[in-house]
Symmetry: C2
Subunit: 142 residues, 2 copies
DNA sequence: TTAATAATGATAATTATTATCATTAGGGAG
DNA sequence: CTCCCTAATGATAATAATTATCATTATTAA
């Protein structure tokens, strides 16, 4: 998806496509594949719109996540991170380096079977989250 | 494992087995299979030792996790939760109910293959974390 | 027993997030 | 175009979880 598609999605919602929201969206698009914290989004957004406030950033990220334009996740650092949701559509997951903290993507299709078993037990799954912790190639003692 | 084994593990470490630490350990053992927040541990611990402080609880949980007696994890509620680590040894995972927040255990052995693939890419895995989100049997609209 | 060190509890400080509120900005009715 | 209504914004206060500080207490080693 590209910029105008996201804007269309937002415009079609109950919310308005304001300048601030477009800015946050643009930051996320410029950082496709990365996982930004609210603070990091603020830093980037201020380059485009110097007086945007942190509250607006939080509010916008929350709204974009509720529209499923963004995915909101917790990567064991004690704060939430956001990424464009369509990067997640193909069920990829995250490998978190315990040394440098870098996050890389992992593709996966092995989970379907496991999910079926769980649903047999009466638990109706709507989402899942898989993370691997270890040493990325750069940090690996090798 | 039982109480004395954990105590032995702690005693064998660089840390002392104080009364407070034994209390926190006992709370965790009494709640085997549950995932307690620091605040919940404090509540339980105060029943056994009324004047234990929250700082000691945090410090003790941190130490027990560093000794791998406990597992410390984030279940998307914005706070850490702790559980006895040996409950995790058989690679079970968590199903988090998005309605009532209950956490149930999922056994799993399907991940080995996926891990092998990731290691081929040069990422050395030391741990992983798999969570399912959905509706538990009680909350399922069914 | 005493000196050194580690642990504790109270509480201050910090960090991430959410709530409040006065002000501003758009969008439709006339 | 102007007025009104509501939504959105930015500044900042409030909250929640966690971590740091520090004086006091307990434990260990000599």
């Amino acid at each position: 998806m590209q910029k105008k598609d996201y804007q269309a999605k937002l415009a079609a919602s109950q919310y308005k496509l304001t300048g601030q929201r477009a800015t946050v969206l643009e930051v996320m698009i410029n950082n496709r594949g990365k996982h930004l914290s609210a603070e990091e989004v603020l830093q980037q957004a201020r380059k485009l719109r110097p007086n945007i406030g942190i509250a607006t950033v939080y509010r916008t990220l929350e709204k974009l996540a509720s529209l499923e334009i963004l995915y909101k996740g917790m990567f064991d650092s004690g704060k939430y991170r956001y990424e464009l949701a369509d990067d997640r559509e193909h069920h990829h997951h995250h490998a978190v380096c315990v040394n440098c903290g870098s996050i890389t993507e992992i593709k996966d299709d092995l989970l379907c079977e496991l999910e079926k078993n769980i649903e047999k037990q009466g638990f109706r799954i709507v989402d899942h989250d898989l993370k691997f912790y270890g040493y990325c190639p750069k940090c690996s003692p090798s």
